[in-house]
């Protein structure tokens, strides 16, 4: 595999919810160690497409996905791929912080325990500390790892959830509007964190804030009514959009 090969490659992806055609013919290449932002008006399919990348749509009964999505050249919808293993490689952070009703330590240790990543208690302690440091929350919680994760503030909860996703050592991190429930200060902390995560993972972030997309991403994809309208370098999308719909959206005329 060459260095330029995309981490995730999507071709001709269609998603149907019962009778609704939610994603139409989407092709996309998502590069490794890059932040890719999905933008677009509400209901345009960007979250649906994101959830295709780790097969979270499998949990929705009425949802059907077709087309081809490859992770490192391997079709993730192939019969022999276990979606549970896939989700360990492609982690996800959700719109609303969703810490488990457990201690901070157990929240982080949840994934490593399930996947058997730690050989000993000391090993697990180290994984938890590393993940909390990468989540930029270690200093705030290191003295109260036994406190419940639900007792943290909204911004801390979201960084805890990011640390929890990081702890399973994923290769790709999917983020579905991770800052929409946060105040500006917490948003700033999470954005800095995303920038640091780029050095190790491929990050895909869905956002409603075009400023956020411009601040954190290198690549931007614009979705509209289920179509991927335009996909390119973030600078180019925001300064010199090729498609009139993209231009209308980023200048605030549709959306």
């Amino acid at each position: 595999m060459t260095a330029d090969a995309p981490k995730i490659l999507a071709r001709n992806v269609q998603v149907h919810y019962a009778d609704t055609h939610a994603i139409k013919d989407v092709d996309a290449d998502i590069a490794d160690r890059t932040v890719t932002a999905f933008i677009g008006p509400s209901g345009c399919g960007k979250s649906t497409f994101l959830r295709c990348l780790n097969r979270m749509n499998d949990t929705i009964d009425i949802c059907r996905v077709s087309g081809r999505i490859e992770l490192d050249g391997e079709d993730i919808y192939d019969r022999k791929v276990d979606p549970v293993r896939l989700r360990a490689r492609v982690g996800m952070v959700f719109q609303k912080p969703n810490p488990f009703p457990k201690s901070i330590y157990d929240n982080i240790a949840y994934g490593p325990r399930i996947h058997g990543l730690a050989r000993s208690r000391a090993d697990l302690d180290e994984i938890v500390e590393t993940a909390l440091r990468r989540g930029a929350i270690w200093d705030e919680v290191k003295d109260r790892l036994d406190a419940p994760g639900t007792g943290l503030s909204g911004g801390q909860q979201q960084r805890l959830c990011i640390a929890r996703a990081v702890a399973t050592e994923p290769e790709v991190l999917l983020m579905d509007e991770p800052c929409s429930a946060l105040d500006p200060i917490a948003t700033d902390q999470v954005e800095n964190l995303i920038d640091e995560l780029r050095s190790r993972y491929s990050v895909v972030i869905v956002t409603h804030s075009m400023q956020q997309a411009a601040r954190v991403s290198q690549k931007t994809a614009f979705f509209h009514l289920g179509n991927l309208v335009e996909f390119g370098d973030t600078d180019q999308i925001f300064t010199n959009p090729q498609d009139p719909r993209t231009e209308a959206y980023i200048s605030g005329r549709i959306g």
Partner: protein, 483 residues
């Protein structure tokens, strides 16, 4: 006029008041309803309320108090002469009722029934023919008292009719008189609605208080006759209706707890697993069919479960463990029989409540766990169940209090022997089953053998009340967690 006709007359007056009130309100407004503070229908209702509510309240109180007052007057005037006053009063009441019926059936003329010198033999024949058996001791003094009893009743009823209808008319007049165009009839109706709702809500509470009080009084009179220490600490339960019983609650309490424990051991795992399947795994179509089907189990009368225990489960266990095979079991009635069937009865309580509670765990927690690469069962075990645990504990406690209070299954399935034993294949009995057998005997109601039922009931009441309070407390704390 009888109470029923009085009631109908009051309702008719209220209806008339409603129509009059509406008309009067419209005329007070000069025909323009927009200048009224309240709609005409509110004015009408306020008049109807003013007419009906005090009159009906008076009627209700009168109906409750008059028999007591008449009884007391007659009881004060009689001289029982060697018989107990209680017995004589009951003869008098029966004779009075018999005279009523005989007159209504035409066997006696009203004049005969009221004649103080009437022939007792003829009266007795007429009253007996009307379906009221008379004690042989009933004679001229009883007849005299019964006649005075009837006279008092008649004049009381007449007085009641006048008082109630008078109050209704007074209310009607007052209600009509206060109608002005700015009279706030709407607020009065609103207040009446609130009070009606409050009344409905307090009926349950007041009834509970009444039950507790009656239990407490009878329990206290039991402990006057029988030492409390023996009741609570004795391991011997042998009631003798001739007296000299030992009434220790321990064997009964043991039977209750043992059978309930077996029932919960059956119901909790099965109910909980069913709930997990329904809420986490079942397709919506299957769930829509299976959930009501399981809940149908909750609607089956417990006597039917009792028959199932008696006719099916008991003989089945007897074939497995009885004389023909292992020889551990002597009869179909056993703790295990009752416990198994009671467990089946409790499954829907556990599964239905747990299913609601598991479904209330936010989907975001499941997504978070699945998104980390956990499987469904890992998610259920490590995230969903811990989050739902307080609610599930509450559901189990509610099921436990049902098990403790269950009677019919025990009567038919567990046998009647009060016994302290660890063997689940032996017959035992419970507190509830013994309450039934103590009160359905021929014992005098003031003997300790009958009164013990109230002490047993009080013990059960305290036990299940404690469990319910605990369960509600836990469930409520759970609800707050995700709102």
């Amino acid at each position: 006029m009888s109470a029923l006709w009085t009631l109908l007359a009051v309702l008719a007056l209220a209806l008339a008041g409603h129509l009059l009130g509406r008309a009067r309100a419209m005329s007070a407004a000069g025909g323009d309803r927009r200048v009224l503070h309240s709609l005409p229908v509110h004015h009408g209702a306020s008049v109807a309320i003013a007419a009906a509510v005090p009159a009906l309240a008076l009627l209700l109180i009168w109906l409750a108090v008059q028999p007591l007052a008449v009884d007391a007057r007659i009881a004060a005037s009689i001289s029982p002469e060697g018989r107990s006053a209680e017995l004589m009063m009951s003869d008098i009441r029966r004779l009075a009722e018999g005279l009523d019926r005989a007159t209504a059936a035409g066997r006696l003329t009203p004049a005969e029934a009221e004649d103080p010198g009437a022939d007792m033999g003829r009266i007795r024949a007429a009253v007996t023919a009307s379906g009221i058996p008379l004690g042989s001791a009933a004679g001229a003094p009883e007849l005299d008292a019964a006649q005075r009893y009837r006279a008092l009743e008649t004049s009381g009823n007449l007085l009641r009719t006048f008082a109630v209808l008078g109050l209704a008319l007074l209310g009607l007049g007052r209600g009509l008189a206060r109608i002005r165009k700015d009279f706030r009839a709407r607020n009065i109706v609103e207040r009446a609605v609130r009070r009606a709702l409050l009344f409905a809500a307090s009926v349950a509470v007041i009834t509970t208080l009444g039950i507790v009080l009656s239990l407490i009084f009878n329990t206290v009179s039991f402990f006057r006759l029988y030492p409390a220490a023996d009741f609570f600490l004795s391991a011997d339960w042998t009631p003798r209706f001739g007296g000299g019983s030992s009434l220790g609650i321990l064997p009964l309490l043991w039977g209750t707890l043992y059978i309930s424990a077996i029932a919960l051991a059956v119901a909790v795992p099965i109910g909980l697993f069913a709930a997990i399947y329904l809420s986490e795994y079942a397709a919506p179509g299957l769930r829509a069919i299976a959930k009501p089907l399981i809940e149908v189990l909750a609607g089956i009368p417990t006597i039917v479960y009792g028959l199932f225990a008696l006719l099916t489960v008991g003989p089945l266990l007897l074939r497995m463990f009885g004389p023909g095979s292992l020889g551990w079991m002597d009869a179909a009635s056993s703790v295990l029989t009752a416990g198994l069937v009671m467990g089946i009865m409790l499954i829907p309580f556990v599964s239905s409540l747990s299913d609601d509670i598991i479904s209330a765990v936010p989907q975001s927690l499941r997504d978070g766990s699945l998104g980390l690469g956990a499987t469904r069962s890992e998610t259920v075990r490590q995230v969903v169940l811990p989050a739902a645990l307080p609610g599930i504990v509450g559901a189990v406690l509610l099921a436990a209090s049902r098990a403790i209070g269950e009677t019919m299954i025990v009567v038919l399935g567990a046998g009647a022997a009060a016994r302290l034993s660890l063997n689940p294949l032996e017959a035992m009995t419970t507190v509830t089953a013994k309450i039934v057998s103590q009160l359905t005997g021929d014992a005098d109601f003031s003997s300790p053998e009958a009164l013990v039922a109230f002490a047993l009931a009080m013990t059960l009441f305290v036990l299940t009340l404690g469990l319910n309070v605990l369960a509600l407390y836990i469930v409520r704390r759970f609800r707050e967690q995700y709102e």
